[in-house]
């Protein structure tokens, strides 16, 4: 399921030959992620970077993984939407099976500067670690 989703996302993003249009598409996607989420936008959920701020929270619902996230920049919000499309509703065990290189595998790596890459990869790692410990806990129970 995860692999299918990665492939779909890569195909969709690679449709754009023009870099400006690809980014414009990310900006369009950002409109699906509400900017103002007071419940989420608390300090404990904040990932601060030099350029932008990201708030994120991982949760499980009936064994399925969900990411709640937003950012103060539209482009990053667009990327967060892509992440949610990728992960949300999948079993934590499936996400925990393999640490994916989110930006590279979704065909976004070359489009972001190094500082953004480490920030966004950090989010993917957070999700992976969360799912690893969540599935571990479920196993132990």
């Amino acid at each position: 399921m995860l692999e299918d989703r990665i492939r779909e996302i890569r195909e969709e993003l690679n449709e754009f030959e023009d870099e400006f249009l690809r980014y414009s598409f990310l900006v369009e996607l950002s409109s699906y992620v509400p900017a103002d989420q007071p419940e989420l936008m608390r300090d404990e959920n904040l990932h601060r970077g030099c350029q932008s701020r990201v708030w994120l929270r991982c949760r499980l619902q009936d064994g399925m993984f969900y990411l709640d996230a937003t950012s103060d920049t539209l482009i990053i919000r667009g990327v967060l939407y892509v992440m949610m499309q990728l992960y949300n509703g999948l079993p934590a065990e499936e996400i925990a099976q393999r640490r994916i290189d989110f930006l590279k595998e979704c065909g976004l790596e070359e489009h972001f500067s190094q500082d953004r890459i480490s920030g966004l990869s950090g989010i993917a790692d957070t999700i992976y670690s969360y799912c690893c410990s969540a599935s571990q806990t479920r196993e132990n129970n």
């Binding site: 023009d18 870099e19 400006f20 690809r22 980014y23 414009s24 900006v27 369009e28 950002s30 409109s31 699906y32 992620v33 509400p34 900017a35 103002d36 030099c50 350029q51 932008s52 103060d72 920049t73 539209l74 482009i75 990053i76 919000r77």
Partner: protein
């Protein structure tokens, strides 16, 4: 009008994302002309050896090339002698050389005064040294990007500051500081003045005699030179005051098992092998500037920055940060309702290289009650057409972003 200098910069001819590159991030680093690149190749192909070490032909050639640059730099800065020029790795390194070299002199009655527009490199080292020594650290306000000299004088009159550290030109607002006036005021109260010339060196040059500062620091890479090069100019007694904080090769006189005597200035402050090729490249950059009509370059740049501000001002949702009396090198702005990162990332995809972020000047941004901004910083090889193109790209991005940000609300 064709730009008479542009063809000297090979990097500017390339395309990015299939579009013509327009480089407007010169405050971060300037580009390197062909003449500098050729000089570096010549060095590595004909004279490369370590300096001040060997008696052989290449070492002598290399040493003499580096020392020529020292003399050239002294002339470029109107310094009394080549001995007043210390080679460093850049402005930050130069400031640290002074800060560490003077730290022992700081105490509760001998602190440091900076201004709110300083780059972190001319802010944090002083703040931290003062904290370590229990010395007062004061920040002179700069409302709307203009340093409050009355407040500076009031602070100095208290007699608790032995050093004033100010920028020549703000990397955020482009504010040109009245350095001579600040030097006179600093000296009236018995303190010394350090000037951060990182942004000023290319756009204004540095007549240290006229400025009468005690220390002047700049980075080669912001003046057409390779990265990792820099200069600390100091008046002779000001350099003599500095305790050498780095020791090693090339800076000692006599070393015995129990004690060491040190070389004269400036060598005393230059431990280890310097950035030989970089320094020689910086010499070629000084040649480049001296061989051109500097007045023409500077008046062209003044026109370009004024035009940039004027054109940005015409875009309704753009707010320019600061309204200094004189501006050089940079204009920073925010756009209502749109994050600076989104602006810079989108115009980049149209070929325009500008910077967004905190610009290593968080206290300066706080003056304007913002955390980040977009900065446009043209140099003499840029054109008015490029500024027009940037403003068109910015309008396009603002239109597109506004549509989407309102959709999400």
């Amino acid at each position: 009008m064709t730009n008479p200098w542009r063809d000297d910069f090979p990097i500017l001819t390339q395309q990015v994302y299939g579009r013509r590159l327009v480089y407007l991030d010169n405050a971060a680093t300037s580009q390197v002309p062909r003449q500098v690149l050729e000089r570096i190749i010549l060095h590595y192909t004909t004279e490369h050896a370590n300096v001040h070490r060997g008696v052989h032909f290449l070492s002598t050639a290399s040493t003499s090339a580096v020392e020529d640059v020292r003399a050239k730099t002294a002339a470029f800065l109107h310094a009394p002698s080549a001995k007043n020029i210390v080679f460093t790795q850049g402005t930050t390194d130069s400031i640290h050389l002074v800060c560490s070299g003077l730290e022992d002199r700081l105490n509760e009655n001998a602190g440091v005064l900076v201004t709110a527009l300083e780059h972190h490199s001319n802010f944090v080292p002083w703040q931290q040294a003062c904290l370590r020594k229990g010395a007062p650290f004061a920040v002179c306000p700069a409302p709307d990007g203009v340093p409050d000299l009355q407040e500076m004088e009031r602070l100095l009159a208290g007699g608790r500051y032995c050093l004033v550290a100010v920028t020549q030109v703000s990397n955020l607002t482009g504010t040109v500081y009245p350095v001579r006036e600040i030097a006179d005021m600093t000296h009236r109260y018995g303190a010394v003045l350090l000037v951060d010339g990182a942004q000023g060196i290319l756009h204004l040059g540095a007549d240290t005699e006229q400025m009468d500062c005690d220390y002047y620091c700049f980075s080669g890479h912001k003046m057409l030179s390779p990265t990792g090069t820099g200069v600390l100019y100091g008046k002779t007694d000001a350099l003599e005051m500095l305790r050498p904080v780095r020791s090693g090769g090339g800076m000692v006189d006599l070393v015995t098992l129990t004690r060491t005597t040190f070389d004269e200035i400036p060598q005393r402050l230059e431990a280890g092998t310097p950035n030989i090729a970089g320094i020689i490249g910086m010499g070629a950059a000084i040649d480049y500037l001296m061989q051109h009509d500097l007045e023409q370059i500077r008046s062209y740049e003044a026109g370009l920055i004024a035009y940039t501000q004027q054109q940005l001002d015409r875009i309704p949702s753009v707010h320019i940060l600061g309204h200094p009396v004189q501006r050089a090198g940079a204009v920073s702005f925010t756009v209502e309702g749109i994050h600076p990162y989104d602006i810079a990332a989108m115009v980049d995809k149209l070929g325009y290289a500008v910077r967004s972020g905190s610009h290593c000047a968080q206290p300066a941004l706080r003056i304007f009650d913002v955390e980040t901004a977009v900065r446009v910083s043209p140099a003499f090889y840029n054109t008015m057409q490029e500024i027009d193109g940037f403003c068109d790209a910015l309008r396009r991005v603002i239109r597109m972003m506004s549509r989407n940000s309102s959709a999400s609300l």
